[in-house]
């Protein structure tokens, strides 16, 4: 009777420990896949973000350039004097350029105001997304390393290492995520340069 109770107890203990190792191992596998998920995300997000910001910057660059060159023409810094008709045409073009921009308030107010430039906002947003995306990636790596540490510690600690010995399926070699030696050297020497 006593032996039976002990056997049942041992069986339950075994099932509990076995499952514990399995869940720790699967955790590592899942955390590892998180890294590639975040890597994939980074590639896609950066591509689309940079493209859209570039587009906006290009638009603003050409708008400003056009206005400035038209303004130069109308002021007639060099060359022959312009007729009234020509001058009027250029002024109209400038107004049109300005009105095409973000301002939709009254015409009088916007005559000499340049279209509101959004590039700065866009860049700030881009910066936030870059920081966040990089953080997500490194947190995924951190979580993977932590889960691996837990798994390694579990399968090498006392009762569990015996189970692992008899069930080699439970033991799997993972490598901590880290840079190679040469890469560490390169990264160490990096400095911010303007």
């Amino acid at each position: 009777m006593v032996i039976l109770v002990i056997l049942i107890f041992l069986g339950m203990w075994f099932i509990y420990s076995y499952n514990k190792i399995v869940s720790a191992k699967e955790m590592v596998v899942n955390m590892k896949s998180q890294i590639s998920i975040q890597l994939d995300r980074r590639g896609k997000v950066f591509d689309s973000l940079i493209n859209s910001v570039k587009k906006a910057m290009d638009y603003e660059k050409t708008t400003l350039k056009d206005i400035i060159s038209l303004r130069e023409k109308s002021l007639n810094i060099s060359g022959d004097p312009l007729s009234n008709k020509e001058k009027q045409d250029i002024e109209d073009q400038i107004s049109e350029q300005i009105l095409n921009g973000q301002f939709t308030k009254s015409f009088n107010m916007t005559v000499e105001a340049y279209p509101e430039l959004k590039a700065n906002d866009n860049l700030l947003q881009l910066q936030e997304e870059i920081v966040s995306t990089e953080n997500k990636l490194s947190y995924a790596k951190q979580a993977f390393n932590d889960s691996l540490e837990r798994y390694n510690a579990l399968v090498s600690s006392v009762p569990y290492n015996i189970i692992v010995k008899y069930f080699p399926d439970l033991k799997k070699e993972f490598n901590y995520w880290k840079l190679k030696k040469e890469e560490v050297k390169v990264e160490e020497e990096k400095r911010v340069q303007f």
């Binding site: 899942n30 947003q125 936030e128 920081v131 953080n135 947190y139 995924a140 979580a143 837990r150």
Partner: protein, 303 residues
């Protein structure tokens, strides 16, 4: 202790708190039944109830009242916790407060959580934050606008990490349950006094009334004890959990410093009592407060 063990302890505590609460309710109901029926003795009432000669109206209604108040608070925790302030939900697609959403998403990855808590911004000047909820899919983190404006990105990460740890450790369940229990308990003690003056003077009723009078004074103390039992260590653990996620104790310490300094400089009022126990920071620093002092918390972070 890793968080799985903490979760286990917290689940047990939640269960014990709930059972204790219901037990107290039933006993109060039973005592009220004795007073109402003007019983000769306690055993007489028990005998009558068992033999279906008397329906224990007060016991049953107190029990139902207890269960309903728990269920209601679990179902409507969000409204209870956020009530009294205007707030906005920050969603995945919102452009404003984008960084706040990003930070939460980052820390969710760091914590290996499988679900995303809902994020709310409370439109208030004071600096505070809390997490609440019951089941995994139904958790919220709320942050005041004052906090959002006055902290930098690293400090915001620390605060959100703190709240996320409360969620991961399942502290929120216990906080929610105990917050509701204590508030209703105080409400019930007021009720009791109404029955104490009832003019039923048989032996049993008299005894029951004496116990009720004692309870009237003991229950408020008991609620304090329960709140203390929530234990301040949970705040330390949440601070430590945040540091484990962001690996930056400096940010956690400076966030706490900024919050307490802000509270010292301003005189903020918040009337929502259930929220108090859930906050990251509590101003009153007596030996009865649910939160440890900022000084001690910063010291534990190693500064």
């Amino acid at each position: 202790m890793n968080y799985r063990e903490i979760v286990k302890v917290n689940r047990n505590k939640t269960f014990i708190a709930l059972s204790l609460f219901l037990l107290i309710y039933i006993s109060i109901g039973f005592l009220l039944d004795i007073v109402i029926s003007n019983s000769v003795s306690m055993t007489d009432t028990i005998y009558k109830i068992i033999h279906l000669e008397q329906i224990p109206v007060a016991t049953i209604s107190m029990f139902l009242f207890g269960v309903i108040s728990i269920v209601v608070s679990i179902l409507f925790f969000k409204r209870i916790q956020l009530s009294g302030e205007t707030y906005v939900e920050i969603k995945e697609e919102s452009k404003k407060y984008r960084d706040l959403y990003n930070i939460l998403e980052e820390l969710k990855i760091a914590a290996g959580l499988k679900y995303m808590p809902k994020l709310y911004l409370i439109k208030a000047d004071y600096m505070n934050a809390f997490a609440s909820g019951w089941s995994e899919k139904n958790t919220i983190i709320a942050i005041t606008e004052g906090l959002y404006k006055k902290l930098n990105r690293a400090e915001l990460s620390a605060v959100i990490g703190h709240e996320l740890t409360h969620i991961r450790n399942e502290d929120i369940k216990l906080t929610l349950v105990v917050g509701v229990i204590t508030n209703i308990m105080l409400f019930v003690t007021d009720w009791i006094s109404f029955f104490i003056f009832k003019d039923n003077n048989n032996e049993g009723a008299k005894n029951a009334k004496i116990i009720l009078i004692v309870l009237h004074f003991v229950l408020p103390i008991l609620t304090l004890v329960i709140q203390m039992w929530l234990s301040r260590t949970r705040e330390y653990m949440a601070d430590a959990g945040a540091v484990e996620l962001i690996r930056d104790p400096q940010a956690m310490a400076s966030a706490l410093k900024k919050i307490s300094l802000d509270y010292n400089l301003n005189d903020y009022h918040d009337n929502n009592v259930t929220r108090k126990a859930a906050y990251i920071f509590e101003k009153e620093d007596s030996f009865l407060s649910t939160h440890p002092s900022i000084k001690n918390r910063i010291k534990k972070l190693g500064f």
